[in-house]
């Protein structure tokens, strides 16, 4: 009978394997709160059998490696949904101020300025000879012009703010794509050399998720450990170990950003950048609408105002400074009228102080439904109302979309967690399991050692 040392070897391997299992468990527990971490499992297998007399018996346990729980289908779904959420969030955040700006305060908004201005002419209609009411009409006109200007300048500032967010987002995207390209290289190397790239993969997944949120990017697995990332209609921002830089140029006349990759225009269908671009377009549309409204008010008020006679019996002059085009930024009450309210026209007759027909007609313009601004036809008041409701509608639809998207994303994240997340209960069970196995293996070693000692003492 020969001395068989294989029990010692089995015991050694068992201690080793269970220690490894405890280490992996520790790694999982340590990363329970690490974003993007995929839980790992020690992969153990039975050792190759040895001949033992007429029988073959296993040579204990071998550590095969580490398995990460990751589902590529769920990951890419999360990327796609994150892109949509990114677009909606950026859209809501960039447009929410628009409605607030257009709405103004309870007493300081454009609506009050409009009503106040046209009301002043209604008062003048009832008292066409009144000098104080003329001064009030001028003041209300100045207030209307100022409100237009301040509303527009806020929208303008807002647009500049959104534009600079587009540029800083482009910077972040560039930094992320170069990190992903870098990780692509490292993962490829790790896989080629057989080392465990799990940590690198988790990190890359986190970067890709952020990229998806920002740009709506999609990934394609190249099979060699690297991934390609494309945006919009398939333009690559990462190809293997190469990252392509996005550039945010400036387009005249407004100097807003135009994004290119290698000189070609970059199209974004989802993601923060697309949401911000939508915000830019909508804000521009609102500014145009406001400009059109200002132009229409100036044109129609001036037409009526020059048709009558002023308090001195002279033909009416322009109430607002005319111009082509007048915008919400340039609208102003004519300097001559400001300095001499007697120039305010109330009457249609060529004599001073007669009737208030023209003042009445000007007052009625507020609700006259025949004004056309862009695609909107209605009264000044209803056109303004429609601008506001459009802004509100856009914020509303982005918010509604976000609620739905939140549910979808939560569901996808729950699926990801179910596959990749760490459960402390499970890890506690694993810990007990490995610890008990470790104790048993140690006990087994002791027995094997005693057996060997016994045999050796026979020889002695």
């Amino acid at each position: 009978m020969s001395i068989n040392f294989s029990p010692l070897e089995i015991g050694r391997r068992a201690l080793n394997a269970n220690q490894f299992g405890i280490t992996v468990t520790g790694q999982n527990i340590a990363n329970v709160n690490t974003p993007g971490y995929s839980r790992q499992r020690a992969v153990l297998s039975e050792g190759n059998p040895d001949r033992f007399g007429n029988f073959s018996i296993g040579s204990g346990v071998t550590v095969e490696g580490i398995q990460s729980f990751r589902d590529q289908f769920i990951e890419s779904r999360i990327q796609a949904e994150t892109g949509i959420a990114g677009r909606l969030t950026a859209r809501r955040d960039s447009l929410a101020p628009v409605e607030a700006i257009l709405q103004g305060t309870e007493n300081g908004g454009l609506q009050n300025a409009l009503n106040g201005f046209f009301s002043a002419f209604r008062d003048l209609d009832a008292n066409p000879g009144s000098a104080p009411l003329r001064s009030i009409a001028v003041q209300k006109g100045v207030n209307l012009a100022n409100t237009f200007q301040s509303t527009r300048s806020r929208l303008f500032d807002l647009r500049q703010g959104i534009d600079s967010r587009v540029r800083s987002t482009v910077d972040e995207v560039n930094s992320l794509t170069s990190k992903v390209a870098d990780l692509n290289g490292q993962i490829k190397f790790a896989e080629a050399t057989g080392s465990n790239p799990s940590g690198l993969l988790d990190q890359r997944t986190e970067y890709v998720n952020r990229l998806s949120e920002l740009t709506g990017a999609r990934t394609y697995d190249n099979g060699d450990g690297t991934i390609n990332i494309t945006i919009g209609e398939g333009r690559a921002v990462v190809s293997g170990v190469t990252a392509f830089t996005l550039e945010a140029g400036s387009t005249p006349p407004l100097g807003l950003s135009a994004i290119t990759i290698n000189g070609q225009p970059a199209v974004f269908d989802e993601g923060t950048i697309r949401g911000l671009q939508d915000g830019l377009n909508e804000t521009t549309a609102q500014i145009d609408g406001l400009d059109g409204l200002a132009q229409a008010i100036v044109d129609r008020v001036n037409t009526l105002h020059t048709s009558g006679t002023d308090q001195n019996g002279n033909p009416g002059v322009n109430f607002f400074t005319p111009g082509t085009p007048v915008t919400a930024a340039t609208i102003s009450v004519d300097a001559a009228v400001v300095s001499n309210p007697n120039l305010v026209v109330a009457s249609a007759l060529p004599q001073p102080g007669q009737n208030g027909t023209v003042a009445g007609e000007i007052a009625s313009l507020l609700t006259d439904p025949n004004t056309t601004v862009g695609t909107r036809t209605g009264s000044f008041s209803s056109i303004y109302g429609s601008l506001i409701s459009q802004a509100g509608e856009q914020v509303r639809s982005a918010e509604d979309g976000l609620v739905t998207q939140g549910v979808i994303l939560a569901q996808a994240t729950a699926q990801r967690e179910a596959v990749s997340g760490v459960s402390l209960d499970e890890e506690a069970i694993n810990l007990i399991q490995y610890q008990k196995a470790f104790e048993a293996a140690a006990r087994f070693l002791k027995v094997a050692d005693e057996m060997t000692q016994t045999i050796l003492s026979l020889a002695g």
Binding site: Q103, N127, L349, Q354, S389, G392, E399, A418
Partner: protein
Amino acid sequence: MNFRITDNLTNKNFSSRINDQRTRISVLQERLASGKRINRPSDDPAGAEAVINLKTSIEQIEQFQRSATAAGQRLTAADDTLSGYEHILERIRVLVSQGLSDTTTQESRDIIATEVETLRGRILDLANSKYGDDYLFGGTRQGSPPFDPNTGVPSAIPSNAQYLQIEPGANAIAVGITGESFLTDSTSDIFTDLDSALAALRGTGNPTADHTTLQNTFSRLDVYSDLVGNAHARVGANLNITEFSQERLNTDHLSLEERSAEIEGADFADTAIELTQQQQALDATLQVVARGRRSLFDFLG
């Protein structure tokens, strides 16, 4: 295999639920604080647009209410003045008929003449009376008085009644009458006729001619009486229209306010109850979170 519930998932669910509940509570608190269901256009874009249009209509109605009040006051002033003028006209008719009587002595006629002259002055004052800065009977000609304050000669500048719109979409109504329309006709004016009567009363040396003049005056007074009767009726009719308009404007104003409040206003009781419910739900969630999730680790020695 069962769907694995991990610690992270539970925590994420809790934090997103707490966040949702706090958002909801803050919306309800804003509604209670402002009393409005629509605090920004995105709360209800269609409702917000409707409220803007309703507010414009309300402002417009308030404007017309002011115009109607102004029209009413102006017409009332004209109405009162015309009543005064009618009394004067009546008194002159009595005086002229006394003057016509054969039993009246020249001495008495002189006294009558003095009174008629005073009354003529009163009529001239009434004709040129002011309402605010305007000549009440000046119509569209406000640069000069309707009648020369010294001679009573009618102004040569043509004038028309002033019109004012007092209801949305309605035709403008005359908010006064011109002095010419009831103090003159195509042949003469009351001041010229009274001047002739005064001369006749004081005696021109031709009693027969004076008698004829006074008889003419008597028939002219009938003409002026008819004229002022018509004028008074027109003013009265427009005053009626103004009163009806005011009633309609008040009703419209109320119903527009109601509609606006219906769209924009928050139901206080409902909102308060919902707020309580949401707060209870949040409390419950917080309690569950605070109790903590038991883990197997808690039982390991």
